[in-house]
Each structure stands twice: as C-alpha cells, then as structure tokens.
Amino acid sequence: MSLAFDVLLALALLWSAWRTLATPDLARAVVMFIVFGLFMALAWARLSAPDIALAEAAIGAGLTGALLLDALGAFPPLKEGEKHPAGERER
C-alpha cells in the first residue's frame, strides 16, 4: 500500500522535473523547480531522513527558489530557443 505512494511520489518528482526543463516561460520553470524541491522533501521524509527533509525544504526549495526568483529579474525575458545576448556558445 505504501509502495504505491512511493511510486506516485517518484512519478510526481519526475513530472515536476520534466516541467521545470520543458516550460517555455522562465518564471514558470522556477516555480516548478520550487514544487520539485517540496516533492523532494516528501521523498526524504519517506526515506526516514527527517534532517534532510528539513534542510531540503528550507534550503533546497526555499533559499534556492528565492535566489532563482531574484535572478529572474536580472535576465531579459527570453523564450526558450531565442539567442541569449551573452553567454551563448556557438552551436
């Protein structure tokens, strides 16, 4: 019974990770990353690792999410596929 919960949680992890990378909107990608962090905290709780769950929720989802949201404002809004003005390698 609990194994079904683990499988569902693993699928939710993979789904949110996929949505993080596949969304064309950068702000939505950051929000999906925060969601992914919270699912990770649940996974750590299921793995009997409450210390890691606390740290993941506070640092992994919270602080990293805040850093990424703050960094969103520094980049000009681009859709995925457009060339970034700087830091773009020649492909």
Partner: protein, 223 residues
C-alpha cells in the same frame, strides 16, 4: 543546436539511464556494517542523534571543509558582483503593510525556531544546518519586507560573524589536536564541544546563506 544533435543527446541520455537502472537492480543487498558501527559508538559521541553524531563527530572533518567551501562561495559571489560604479545605494524597496507586519511577527518566531532546532539537534532531527537555514530565511524575509538592506560592503561585525563559525571549529580542532588525532573529542566533553561548534556554525551558516541572497540582491541589475 539542431534537432538531430538534440535527439542524439536525448537518446544517449536514455541509454545511460537504462544502463544505470539495470546496474542498480543487479546490486546485491548492502552489508550493514556502517550503521551498526555508528549505533555502537553513539554513546561516546556526545549526542544522541546518529545523523548529528556522524555530521559533527565521526565525519567532522567533512563539515569543517564544507563551511570553508561555503565561505569561499560567498567570497566568490562578492568578487563576481560588479564593483561600486557610481552611486550604489542598497535598494530597500517598499513593501506593503501586510508583508511588513508578517515579517515583524514571523522573524522573532523564526529566531526562536532556529534556537530550538540547534538545541534539539542533539536528541532528534535538527542541528546547525537546519537552524542556520531558518535564520537565513528570516534574513531574506526581512529584506523582502524592506526592513533589512542588502549588503553593500561588510562591516567588521558582519565579517566576524561570517568567519566566526569556521574559526570556532578550527579552534576546537586545534585544541584537540594535542591529543594526536584530528577532531577526536575527549569523550566526556564531546557533547559540550559539539554544542559550541554547532552554535558557531548556526550563526555563521545563517549569515553565509543569507549573504548568498543579499549580496546578489544588492548587485543585481533591475532592468
């Protein structure tokens, strides 16, 4: 990056994933010596929680290096941010009254929670990292509510707070080095030493993690 290369990368990533998954499913059951060793030596470690014991006693060297790495990252961020060109006033942007009230209510509770997590790390899940993270979150909340300016250049007290945890850890390591082994605490003082190190680490980690955000927030260009 044209579609063929993209497809090639995705396919090889899938192949790598399949190979790793089959390797994982082929593994035999793990030998259980390490958790047994931790539990057997837990009484001598000074704390009652195995993860804290591993983090600050059995593998204390890794934690020492980790705090040094964090400090290095913060120094790197400070160095990578653009210099003081022109009038660089730390942007304290005004926040609504709801956010300010929430910040004023929540931050003392967060500081209390951090203190509890620090103390509880000896007996149950908690410890210096969680407490430091809550302190950093409190600092970020204060900044977002407009009550704490971003860090332009650190004063002496801030610098002391940033390196204080690492220095305390190094001082304890140097003090017990006289007995011949690195970071082998004497068994009857281990609990007190661990608490001392954790207290220093909490303050330093809170400041470093807050600094990771606040330095970027100061130098970040708002378009």
């Amino acid at each position: 990056m044209n579609t063929a290369v993209r497809l090639g990368v995705i396919l090889s990533a899938l192949a790598l994933g399949a190979a790793l998954a089959s390797a994982i499913l082929d593994l035999p059951m793990p030998g259980r010596e390490l958790p047994g060793a931790v539990v057997a030596n837990l009484a001598d470690s000074g704390v009652a929680h195995p993860v804290t014991a591993v983090l600050l006693n059995f593998r204390g060297y890794d934690t020492l290096l980790e705090v040094a790495v964090l400090l290095l990252a913060l120094l790197g961020i400070w160095a990578a941010s653009p210099g003081q060109g022109g009038a660089v006033a730390s942007a304290v942007y005004p926040a609504g009254p709801v956010l300010q009230t929430l910040a004023r209510l929540a931050v003392p509770l967060m500081i209390l929670t951090a203190g509890y997590l620090l103390w509880a790390g000896a007996h149950r899940p908690g410890g210096a990292f969680q407490a430091g993270a809550v302190l950093a979150a409190a600092a970020v909340l204060l900044h977002l509510a407009g009550l704490l300016p971003a860090w332009a250049s650190p004063g002496f007290l801030l610098r002391l707070g940033l390196v204080g945890g690492l220095l305390a850890f190094l001082a304890v390591a140097a003090a017990v080095l006289g007995q011949g082994a690195l970071l082998r605490y004497p068994a009857d003082h281990a609990g007190a030493l661990i608490l001392l190190i954790e207290a220093g680490l909490t303050i330093s980690l809170g400041l470093i993690l807050a600094g990771l955000f606040l330095v970027l927030a100061h130098r970040g260009g708002r378009p």
